[in-house]
Structures are given as C-alpha cells and as structure tokens.
C-alpha cells in the first residue's frame, strides 16, 4: 500500500515544541479516532489511544514534541534572549529563522565577538522585527516558545524538514494503526516532552500498564562525509535498536523484531546509538518493568531545521510495525 506522505508533510509543519504539543495531538487525534475505541489526552499532554483486543497488551509510542527555544528576557530595544528546549546545537543557530505559535517569525543574531571561542548561547538573540521593548512585549511574552522554520522538501528518494524527529515516528504509528489487523490489545501513546527527558512517556506507561512496548523514533546515521563511526545508513532499512543511553534492548525483544523482519523480507539494520535516548528508556522502567524495543528511522542532521530521511526506510518501519503487532512474541 502506498503511503500518503502529505500527512507527514502536515505533521512536520505543525507547531509543537516540548510542553506545547496540543496542535500535534489534535491533528493526530483526527487521523486515528476512526481506528480506535478510545482516545484521550492526559495531564502531561500525551495523546493516548486504545484499541481493544485480546492477549498481551502492546504499547506503541512516538513523541509529538520537537526541540525549540524558550524566551527568557526581552530587552529595552525589543531583542529576545532565550534558552534551549531540548538538544539544540548552538553552532547551528545563527541566521536561522524561528516561528512562534502566533505565526510570528524571527531570526537569530549574534553579538560582536572578540574571538571565535566567545561564541556561546548567551551571545545570541532573536530579532522579531520589533522596534521597542513595548512592541516586542505585545508580540511575545516570557516563557513563550519558538521552533525552527524548516519546510518539507522532497529531494529524490529523500525528504527533508524540521521536526522529522519525531513526527516521522508519529507518521509511522498512524500508518501502522490504520493498516493493522492485529487482534491484540493495543495502546498507543503519542507522547509529550520527550526532548527534555522522556517525561510524557513516564506517565503514559504508568497509566497504560502495557505487557510490552515499542517506541518509534529517529536515530542518527554515520554515512555523511567524515562522520562519526556509526553503522547506520540512510536508505538501508529500518533500524532495530540494540542500545542507547536510556535502554539496552532485551534479547527476546531483539530476536522477535529481527525474526519478524527477516521472515517478511523487511530490510533492517542493527542500531547502536552511543548517545541520546528515547521513550522506551522511560517505559521499560515503569512499575515492575516493561520489556521494550525501538523501531528507529535513520535520520541525518537530527535537531536541525533540515533533518533528512529516506522514504524506503519509512516504508520499512511501517511494514515492520504492522507485522510486529500481528505477530507478538509468545
């Protein structure tokens, strides 16, 4: 079945930094409600969906939030100072356009530096075109958040956009949910606040009490010029996580995931990520412990305004998730 990548395009362009995931949740809710028995939002802002069935309760998680910036100060000339929301790379920021929930655009500038090593986050500011503090305060307030501007562009077999981390994961879960013929009890968590410490997943897993869980998230690659050593390549199949800083995938989960992939001829690659973590890190420690794995989508330039994925990897991720839900482990 061909996938409707326009849904992914829409997903990437919705405003949804950590703590402000409402609009993403609203969009996803409309997509999945016809396919679920129950859809609710919780205190942290997670969107939780249940599809009743029998047997083991399987949880599938993908996070809705994207990295962003939070305004901490508005100065007398109307320039804004900010703090990062999630793993923002300071070096990437100068000259970037950012967007507030109101639609207002700003650009990031830098103070005059005495030497290159003075380049630090606190030397940067956002210019929203305000001519005074008073005007700026009419437009934004302290604590308001902004996200990168990063259009959805198709380049050959690949796609680049902001927030593919992790709207592509949300997309994979939505697509799998629509196709799944699984008869198991399925619970879906589109989580909040992953980028600042997998906080939504923690309360979601507590509330849903699954027997096992799969998170779907992006992972880094090692396939660009003079990249760090990492054996994950764009276009070489979906990633099955072995380890990151938050999780070591249990052997039985790895065997199950790789076994199903091999049986269905779904291209996959083992993923060892030496930094970072994802929702499964929080989920697998919930209550008495939940065996958990991760479907990873290889992504270049993670946490930039132009993250890049390959369509075939996304397709493989959907195929794998659908197959896993239909063939749960014993």
């Amino acid at each position: 079945m061909d996938m409707d990548f326009r849904i992914l395009e829409q997903l990437t362009q919705i405003f949804g930094p950590s703590g402000s995931e409402e609009q993403v949740a609203e969009f996803i809710s409309a997509q999945i409600s016809p396919y679920c028995d129950e859809v609710i939002s919780d205190t942290l802002g997670n969107l939780l969906a249940v599809r009743h069935g029998t047997g083991k309760k399987i949880m599938v998680a993908a996070h809705m939030d994207e990295i962003g910036l939070m305004i901490t100060h508005i100065d007398k000339e109307g320039f804004l100072r900010f703090t990062p929301l999630g793993g923002v790379r300071t070096a990437n920021l100068v000259g970037q356009r950012v967007k507030f929930n109101t639609g207002r655009i700003g650009t990031i500038g830098v103070e005059k530096l005495a030497k290159p090593s003075d380049f630090k986050l606190d030397k940067l500011y956002i210019d929203i075109g305000a001519v005074s503090q008073n005007e700026a305060e009419q437009i934004v307030h302290l604590g308001e958040t902004a996200v990168f501007v990063g259009d959805f562009v198709e380049v050959g077999s690949r796609i680049m956009a902001k927030a593919l981390d992790d709207r592509v994961g949300c997309f994979v879960v939505i697509e799998a949910l629509k196709r799944s013929k699984s008869t198991n009890e399925l619970v879906f968590a589109f989580t909040a606040q992953e980028e600042i410490g997998t906080r939504g997943a923690k309360t979601a897993a507590y509330a849903l009490e699954p027997d096992l869980a799969i998170a779907v998230d992006v992972t880094a690659t090692g396939d660009t010029p003079k990249d760090h050593t990492m054996s994950v390549k764009l276009g070489s199949g979906v990633g099955i996580k072995v380890l990151d800083r938050s999780l070591i995938t249990p052997p039985q989960i790895k065997r199950w995931m790789a076994g199903v992939a091999a049986e269905r001829n779904i291209p996959f690659q083992w993923e060892v990520l030496e930094y970072g973590g994802t929702d499964s890190g929080a989920i697998h420690l919930s209550r008495g412990g939940v065996p958990s794995g991760v479907i990873s989508i290889p992504t270049r330039y993670v946490h930039s305004p132009a993250e890049m994925v390959d369509r075939s990897d996304v397709q493989a991720a959907v195929d794998l998730l659908v197959s896993l839900l239909e063939h749960p482990p014993d």
């Binding site: 703590g19 609710i40 919780d42 205190t43 942290l44 997670n46 901490t72 604590g143």
Partner: protein, 350 residues
Amino acid sequence: MLLKSLSELNGTSGAENLVRNFLRQTIEPFVDIISTDKMGNLIGMKNDSLSGPKVMLAAHMDEVALMIIDITGEGFLKFRPVGGIDARILVSKPVQINNSCVGVIGAKAIHLQKHTERQNALSCDQLYIDIGAKSKEDASSKVKLGDYAYFTTEFEPFGDGLYKGKALDGRVGCAILAELLKNDYDFPLIAGFTVQEEVGLRGAKVAAHHLAPDFAIILEASVADDMSEGAEDGWITELGNGPACSLMDRSTLYSAKLIQWVTSVARQNGIPLQFRRGSGGGNDAGSIHISNVGIPTICLNVPCRYIHSFASVISEKDYRDCYDLVNALLKELPNFFEGSSINFAKEDKS
C-alpha cells in the same frame, strides 16, 4: 519568629529530624492528620473527607551541609558536601557538628601560601575542619564518620527589609507553608515537608506517589543574581520584585496554562509577580509532576541571593507577597478546576 527558628535549625539531607520535629509541633494544631512516611517526609492533611481537588503544597526541609568522611592522624576532619556547595565559600568558616562541637574550616594562611597557591581556589580535598582536637582519639570521642557539619549563621534582619540566614533555600518554603495551614480552604489540602531534595528530589518522589494529589504547588527559594556584574538578562530573579513563577528548569517544563492562571490571579489581587528566567537548577516539582499518571504542578520562588551558602539573603516583602499569592491561588483554585481544560482525571484504581 517562625522563619528564624527554621533557618537556625540544623537538618541536611537524610538528617531532617530536628526540622521535622519543630514543624510537627508548629502545624499540629492546624491539621487533621499528621504523619511521617518511610522516607522521613512530614505529611499534614486538612479536610481529607471533603470532595474536590486534592492539593499538595510542598517545601523541602533539608539544607546543604558537610558530611565527615575521615579523621586524620592529627585529629582534623575531612569532609564532603551534601548537596551543591561551592568549595570556594568554605575557607575559614565556623561550623557546628552534632549541635555541640564547634569547628573551623581551616586552610593555610595567606602568609604561608606560595604565589601559585594563591592563584587557585582551594578544593574540598585541601580543606579540613579543625575542632581543636589533640589527636585522632580525641577527635573520635566527639565526632564519628557520617556526622554532619553545619553553618552557624544567626538569622537576622538587616538593610531595608532584608533577612540573612542559612538554609533559607528550603526553609522559606517550609515557613510559608506552615503559615498557610492556619487558613481554612474548602478542599482537601496536603502539606508535604519533604526530605532529600538537595541530593536529587528523592523524598518528593515517594511522597507524590503515595499521596497522589490532583495538583501540586512547590514553595522554594530560588537564585537571585541581581547584584552580579552580568547583564540584566542573566539575573534569573530580582530581590524585591515579588515571588517568581518558574517557567522551566532542568527538571520541569511548567504548563503554560498554569503559568497564565498564576499571572492572572496575581494581577487580580495586585500582587507583584516575576518569572524565574533561567533554565538551570531543579526542585521537587521535577519528581512530583511526573509521578503516577502525571500531576499538574507549579513552583513559586522567593528570590534569594547567595543561595546554598553560609548566609543567603531574601526580602521580607517577597516572602509576604509569596504567601499572599499562594493564599490567593488556593482561594481561587476550586473555580479554576471547574472551568479548566487541564486534565485532572484521577487514576483508575480498579
């Protein structure tokens, strides 16, 4: 005065008993149920039988201090900080151990230091506590490993409506919370005086799990950097400008809806309010807001200069304004719950 008594009591993480005993006596007449949980959190409850949102007010009892980890052959005490202490502030400060033994944090006098030694700040490894003992045996009769050494600062007013004292970080919250308990509110109210905040929000984690409140307000002191040479945008909070509502710190991203509510209640009641502008640090909110299925949480801070040091400084007016703001929020709370779109669904326990 309540805050003076609380400030001068000694109680670091894991050794909060003196503070707990004092608070227990203080709040006993004003709560219906009082208990201490397995971690050592002191829990007071009012109106437990009423319906309505179960609201938890939390403040931590522990302060930063030093733990004795070794006694040298000469009878000097080696130590490690409990909680975040800047070793550079320790040199030559008097300390108290076991509420009886006096000591001085010693280091080589300036006369004896080489030029290169003067260039570098001393670390904990180079410092020791001198309790005037003649030998290891002498010292061991007064102090044992694992004992704590505390700052000896007397709490007192000074300047234009300012207070100085030790341990204000958590005790300011404890004092405001204890005072609020004298009022009557018509919903179930839980006072959680927590332990081990300074070493990783540990008491609050357990308390929030077993108390399972519907809403939590954290009362704290937070960094004021308004006297530093840095630009205004790095000040975090400013003394005298009212309580500071947290936007974000390392442990919590506070809900925009709740911040909006705090802002509107402050405005309606004419109470000054500022925002905590940094994103570092953390407090009990970090444990509480992700407990169970998630608990809506806000944090109100009294601005505090020289926090985690021998003598921190707060403004009496900020303290009063913080009390007034929390009181106003609590009065407004039932209305807010009625009309709010925030999810207060309780966990299904079936």
